[in-house]
Amino acid sequence: MCVGVPAKVIKIEGEKALVDVMGAKMTVGILFVPEIALNNYVLIHAGQAMVIIDEEYANASIKEWRELLDARDKDFFTS
């Protein structure tokens, strides 16, 4: 029950927001993320948005791992 799903914020209304979870729309609570804005990605748990995903950080880790993949001949991991 702990697997949070990333969802995109479509509409904000008071303490609730309409979000898109992989194409499905649902209403979630946003009490714990007061700084939320449209088009943010949030992690949902038990019907509440718990955190706004830091896209810069997410993309940075993705970039880091991509570089590791691309540099196949070098052994980055054990250096």
């Binding site: 697997v3 949070g4 992690l43 880790s61 993705i62 791992w65 991991f77």
Partner: protein, 368 residues
């Protein structure tokens, strides 16, 4: 656009797994044994088994499942109490789906529902508020289980009930906190551990700083990590690197959702509505200050205070979930595993829960 496919990229996963194995070999040569790593969270346990990483690393890293499956650690008495309450004819009981098949001392919530009790499976605690509004003549009780990730959602429901002036809604709080149980495990010394993979989603609420005690009091390292194969392996690799370098700090390897101090707003609401209490853990017993209950000011929403239920005597079985939760044995060491106990006929919660260690081993690591 958030691109998350890379987290389960097969080639990257394979390369990272090779790197972890190689790093672990160095440890094994030096120490004469495999590094022992506890993944605290039940979702990590399931992800390790499902992705095949646990099997791949079987001879390199001793991955020990920890106490972070909320269903597995819920005391049998709570389920018994819920069943008794559900038998009252003015009660609607609401629960997360995972709890339905967990055996109490006599039966389960699912059996109680089959016998006619009004028990509803809900996804969000707030859904039970709607049910309470729709049924003003009924008492709506929510079975409030969970760790720090879920506790704010329970608080949100109480706050909603308060704002709407509901008098027919209450929560049976049986929540659990990560730090006290980790302390209890380390103090017992039952399991030799070299480090922890720390729960990514609990850490969203508590922050990296909540694990400082691991370093300060026990000199044991930890890495906060996510749930995809690449994230699990990256976390393991960073943990092994710490062991090689003799460092015991906490690394946050899930930076795009976890920060240093956690979610302040969630912490503020938890502090406003809840207070620390001693909590019973299934198979472990009572741990001081290891749970949160409603403050006296909100006693009207506290099902334990609102309804008088006598606890049943726990049924003695050969189930060894308690030992599994503490990391003392593996499921295969339980005589009932894959014999009397299977997911379709579970004897204990570790086989019922979608995050249970016995279920993970049954579905993904069985050798028959």
């Amino acid at each position: 656009m958030l691109e998350t496919k890379i987290f389960s990229h097969p080639e990257l996963t394979r390369r990272l797994a090779d790197a972890v194995a190689k790093s672990a070999e160095t440890f094994i040569k030096r120490e004469g044994r495999m590094p022992a790593v506890m993944e605290v969270c039940g979702s990590h346990t399931m992800a390790f088994a499902k992705s095949g990483i646990k099997t791949r690393l079987r001879d390199y890293v001793r991955l020990i499942a920890g106490p972070g499956c909320p269903v597995c650690v819920t005391d049998q008495k709570a389920i018994d109490a819920m069943i008794r309450l559900s038998e009252k004819n003015n009660v609607i009981l609401c629960s997360f789906g995972d709890m339905m098949r967990v055996p109490g001392s006599g039966s389960s919530l699912l059996q109680a529902k089959t016998n006619g009790s009004d028990i509803r499976v809900i996804y969000s605690p707030s859904d039970s508020i709607q049910i309470a509004e729709d049924h003003p003549d009924k008492e709506v009780i929510f079975l409030g289980i969970g760790f720090e990730t879920t506790i704010p959602a329970l608080v949100a429901a109480v706050r909603e009930a308060e704002k709407k002036g509901l008098t027919n809604f209450s929560i049976w709080m049986t929540t659990k906190l990560v730090a006290p149980v980790l302390r209890a495990l380390l103090q017992s010394g039952e399991v030799e551990l070299d480090g922890f993979l720390l729960p990514g989603h609990v850490s969203i609420v508590t922050g990296k700083q909540s694990y400082r005690f691991l370093n300060d009091d026990y000199q044991i390292p930890g890495v906060i990590t996510g749930f995809e194969p690449v994230q699990l392996l990256s976390g393991l690799l960073k943990l092994l690197n710490q062991l090689h370098e003799g460092r015991t700090g906490i690394i946050n390897d899930y930076t795009y959702v976890v920060n240093e101090a956690g979610n302040f707003t969630a912490q503020h609401y938890m502090e406003t509505y809840l207070t620390r209490a001693d909590e019973e853990w299934r198979g472990i017993g009572e741990i001081r200050g290891s749970g949160l209950v409603l403050r006296e000011k909100y006693a009207r929403f506290d099902a334990k205070k609102k309804f008088n239920v006598l606890p049943a005597v726990p049924k003695k079985t050969k189930c060894r979930c308690g030992d599994i939760i503490r990391g003392v044995i593996t499921p295969e060491e339980c005589v009932l595993f894959n014999k009397a106990c299977t997911p379709s006929k579970p004897v204990g919660p570790c086989m019922v829960s979608s995050e249970g260690t016995c279920a993970a081993h049954y579905h993904f690591m069985r050798e028959d």
